[in-house]
């Protein structure tokens, strides 16, 4: 690459200037409080992890990892997700703690991209992981929690698409009896390539009945929840055992969501297959605010902890703060955040330093924002004064208050 200009940053990285940072911090606080109320404990992990452990287990494409060597020559990565580091902790430092564990985080994640704007390489995510509970009640809890967090932000028209990759895998295997073919079918679903899916099915030499069943599977995305459930039921007849139990799980989940009165926000879509390959059961994505990308996603990952030698079921989600920021509607609250808090300026000189400091601290103790500024450090007095609604001067020549 050519020599960078002084103002440039590496590709896909962003600055958060004070107005955006204020809005982000407010979201962080909101999420922090709500997650605490649900009994989730926050933790932090390092930004760097070993490539052989977290890098591999995170299931992020190699090309998307920021990968380099530490001082000892070990390949390390900037963490591309938080679920994997939390799985590492749950399996090691928190090994002695009774299950289920409820853990939460707010962290910056790193995924390299070579494409263009709108896909930052570093983004902030808040998430929760419920580890050690394999029942659909745990799935309902994390979905409800995710919706609750999104609602707290004022995000409009929230919808959550819910699928089940375990069901997809079991059903496909029943149809084609070959793991590699299942992987390719699932990959076409992940690529959202319905046309390619049908073409691949046609190329497989399946019985007409099996091919028809696979094609109808893709079409089922167009069914509403009740019709999807009816359709899934037809798939269970004559199917192998896992398909049956996954179907029961799906029924239970929808019933439980009904109790929480969340079923109106749920779009049951069995064709939903996310990119992270560690998911094993329910998967979901949250949308809202008219944004063209999902603001949140998650799912069940029952095999991930086994990679860290503590096999146990787990489920969780992450909310992308960068996307949420552009999805939440600009209202008066946000306009207020753009301007920031009302600030009082106290301008003083050497003779009045103690007096000014005492005054500023009194106002600060009262919960107000005060900027304490020596007059000698001001370059342009009018421009400086223009930033404040109220100015208090502690100066030898004048001692006045301007503004309201």
């Amino acid at each position: 690459m050519t020599q960078p200009y002084m103002f440039e940053k590496p590709l896909g990285l962003r600055d958060l200037l004070p107005p955006a940072q204020r809005a982000t911090a407010q979201l962080e606080d909101l999420f922090h409080n709500e997650l605490n109320r649900w009994g989730y404990d926050f933790l932090r992990t390092p930004a760097l992890e070993f490539a052989e452990t977290i890098g591999r287990a995170s299931a992020i494409e190699d090309g998307q990892l920021f990968k380099f060597f530490d001082a000892e020559g070990h390949p390390v990565v900037l963490r591309p997700d938080m679920t994997t580091p939390i799985a590492r902790i749950a399996a090691s430092s928190l090994r002695g703690q009774p299950l289920p564990l409820r853990l939460a985080y707010t962290a910056n994640l790193y995924r390299s991209q070579k494409r263009e704007g709108g896909h930052p390489s570093e983004f902030e995510q808040t998430g929760a992981e419920l580890i050690g509970d394999g029942t659909p009640y745990a799935d309902v809890e994390v979905i409800s929690l995710m919706i609750s967090l999104l609602e707290k932000t004022g995000l409009e028209s929230i919808r959550v698409a819910v699928g089940h990759v375990g069901f997809v895998n079991a059903f496909f295997y029943d149809m084609v009896k070959d793991k590699e073919t299942v992987r390719r079918l699932r990959h076409l679903l992940y690529n959202k390539n319905d046309v390619g899916f049908r073409e691949y099915v046609a190329s497989l030499n399946l019985s007409e009945a099996a091919a028809g069943k696979l094609n109808r599977f893709v079409d089922s995305r167009r069914l509403d929840n009740a019709a999807t459930l009816d359709y899934l039921k037809t798939l269970t007849s004559g199917a192998a055992m896992p398909v049956h139990s996954y179907y029961q799980n799906i029924l239970e989940l929808l019933d439980l969501l009904k109790i929480d009165r969340l079923d109106g926000k749920i779009d049951l879509d069995i064709t939903l297959v996310p990119h992270l390959s560690y998911y094993t059961g329910f998967v979901f994505q949250g949308f809202g605010g008219g944004l063209g990308f999902p603001v949140a996603s998650g799912g069940r990952y029952d095999d991930l902890l086994a990679q860290f030698n503590r096999p146990c079921p787990a489920t969780g989600f992450g909310i992308r703060l960068d996307r949420l920021m552009s999805a939440v509607k600009t209202d008066d609250r946000k306009a207020g955040l753009r301007k920031g808090p009302r600030k009082l300026a106290v301008i003083y000189d050497h003779e009045h330093a103690e007096e000014a400091l005492r005054f500023a601290n009194q106002v600060r103790d009262a919960g107000k924002t005060v900027v304490l500024q020596h007059s000698g450090g001001i370059d342009d007095p009018d421009a400086f004064a223009g930033q404040f609604t109220t100015i208090r001067r502690f100066l030898t020549q004048e001692r006045t208050e301007t503004g309201e």
Binding site: G118, S157, R159, A161, K192, N193, D194, V195, G196, E199, A202, R221, R222, D267, F287, G290, L291, G292, F293, P294
Partner: protein, 216 residues
Amino acid sequence: MKDSLITVAMPKGRIFGDACRLLRKAGFALPETFETTRKLIFDLEDEPFRFILAKPVDVPTYVEYGAVDIGIAGKDVLLESGRDVYEVVDLGISKCHMAVAGLPGHRGVHPFLKIATKYPHIASDYYRKRGEQVELIALNGSIELAPIVGLADAIVDIVSTGRTLKDNGLVEYDRLMDISSRLIVNPVSYRMKKQAIDRIIEKIIGITEGTKIGMD
């Protein structure tokens, strides 16, 4: 109100006429002036539809970012751009195929095969799968010139009738894949405006099923 409005990106150029005919057949009341207008945005009078007229290679971009809900795009453009959109229906219109072509009798004699193309990803993918390393030269149009003037040994491009190749004395070496236009949908629009979009998909499937020709 805004939620019920469906926005559609239409590709200008080669596919445009076919796409308009198809949409009219599916029951959209596109105005007579649709094909001749210079306007880039067009609202239907009686139905909540807004059409934007974009360069074909840009259609998947508008759809991926959610700037529009759905679009019509060639499979060539979709493969090249690799955008994250639902490819829901093969419209079976504007059919052609992707091919390798060049001068008769001249098939890569030296170790560095130079390939000129508008589709560097598709071309690179094709040669990598064959286990060949080639040098790609990206061009934007009139690709057929490249082998004639000695810029490249061969080209990777779409061929519809084969007339342009023939008129310029080129022959097809290999056929990569069949190409036709697809209906694509933004993944979030598909969730948020599901009923309206499903209705459109069903209408379009209804008319394409009759004309669909299987893979050859």
